[in-house]
Symmetry: C2
Subunit: 213 residues, 2 copies
């Protein structure tokens, strides 16, 4: 059994710790973030640090590290310039092209071409979508913060556009990620196709004894 | 194909929209958050809005909605009182007990008992862990914000404790969630066991042509 306290965590080699900490929160969504510069250069980058903030109004959050190692600076610069970004669900067919967007392409070179994926534009929206994506989401920036702990950027976006195949949404509004082949990510580089899930009813206090039988 | 713009999203029935928006970010980690009050009452609640903020220092983020519908207020109150919380990976064997912690138990009633899971304490840490969990993480609160957009709470925690079976961490530090049976969540109620994944090498610009052959 591995047991690490704060001192042992600090003493880990940098690369080992990066792999470990990126994986220990569990599964993450496999998404491509689409943006464009004011000059019209499109950018595409794989992201997994996206999370639900609220449904009413629909708001999502995203963590962007402005690390010199990544292409994320282009993403951040574009979001701050245009106020728009898209999230596009990665399917098994979109690999390995989708992962390839994490390479450090120069600003003028679009990751769309490098990844073999297709740019798609929605009228009135200043960021590109990915045609092949299982779900397309279009967001408008509503808040930008620099988190003091490590100078990471927190972006909050209001959902302004959603495109999803009919088969991907059940009658009650819940999403069927299995039928969409939306991938889950572990760590920085491991993509997992969805497996059949189990749904449980809305939990009530008086169910406790039933579930323990 | 479902296509919803901002007006159509606003017009959706509340429950339908909640299901939809909670699912459209893709897969999320299946975690139990353990906390305790200053009086020693332990609390356990299922959460999926947890995300990676940084590896050096190791920092995680969590979104907590202080909704009157949930048990999350106990979690929030406890974290703010003690400055500590734990994250515990849900495995298939821990279901449906783990999901049952989302029921609205009164403050004095521990969800540990209701869920059939076992409290475990680590010396010097004022929040309980779940013995059965695949991975145990202990965090210390370093930042608390009320997000203005919807009065949701953002908590940032520094990682101070990690426990994981040897088989769950590879030589390079990456985490093998499949061997740990760590579940992925879609929306509010669908739990998915992990499936075998594919790892891709660190992407470089000059790989582009190779990956497209």
């Amino acid at each position: 059994m591995i047991k690490l306290d704060v001192t042992a965590l600090e003493a880990l080699p940098t690369r080992y710790r990066a792999n470990l900490i990126n994986g220990i929160t569990g599964f993450k969504p496999a998404l491509l973030v689409g943006t464009a510069s004011l000059g019209g250069d499109s950018n595409l980058a794989v992201f997994s640090n996206v999370f639900h903030v609220g449904a009413s109004p629909p708001v999502l959050g995203m963590i962007v590290r402005p690390s010199p190692e990544g292409t994320e600076r282009h993403t951040l610069d574009n979001v701050l310039a245009t106020g728009a970004f898209t999230l596009n669900h990665i399917t098994g067919r979109m690999l390995p092209g989708a992962h390839q967007t994490s390479a450090r392409y120069p600003r003028g070179q679009s990751e769309f071409r490098a990844s073999g994926l297709t740019e798609e534009w929605v009228e009135g929206f200043s960021a590109p979508f990915v045609r092949e994506a299982a779900i397309q989401l279009g967001l408008t920036l509503i808040e930008h913060q620099l988190l003091q702990v490590n100078k990471t950027h927190l972006l909050l976006g209001a959902l302004h556009w959603l495109r999803c195949p009919d088969a991907g949404v059940r009658e009650d509004g819940s999403v069927d990620l299995v039928s969409l082949d939306s991938q889950a990510v572990c760590g920085l580089d491991s993509y997992h196709p969805p497996s059949a899930g189990k749904r449980f009813p809305y939990a009530k206090v008086n169910q406790a004894s039933e579930t323990q039988t």
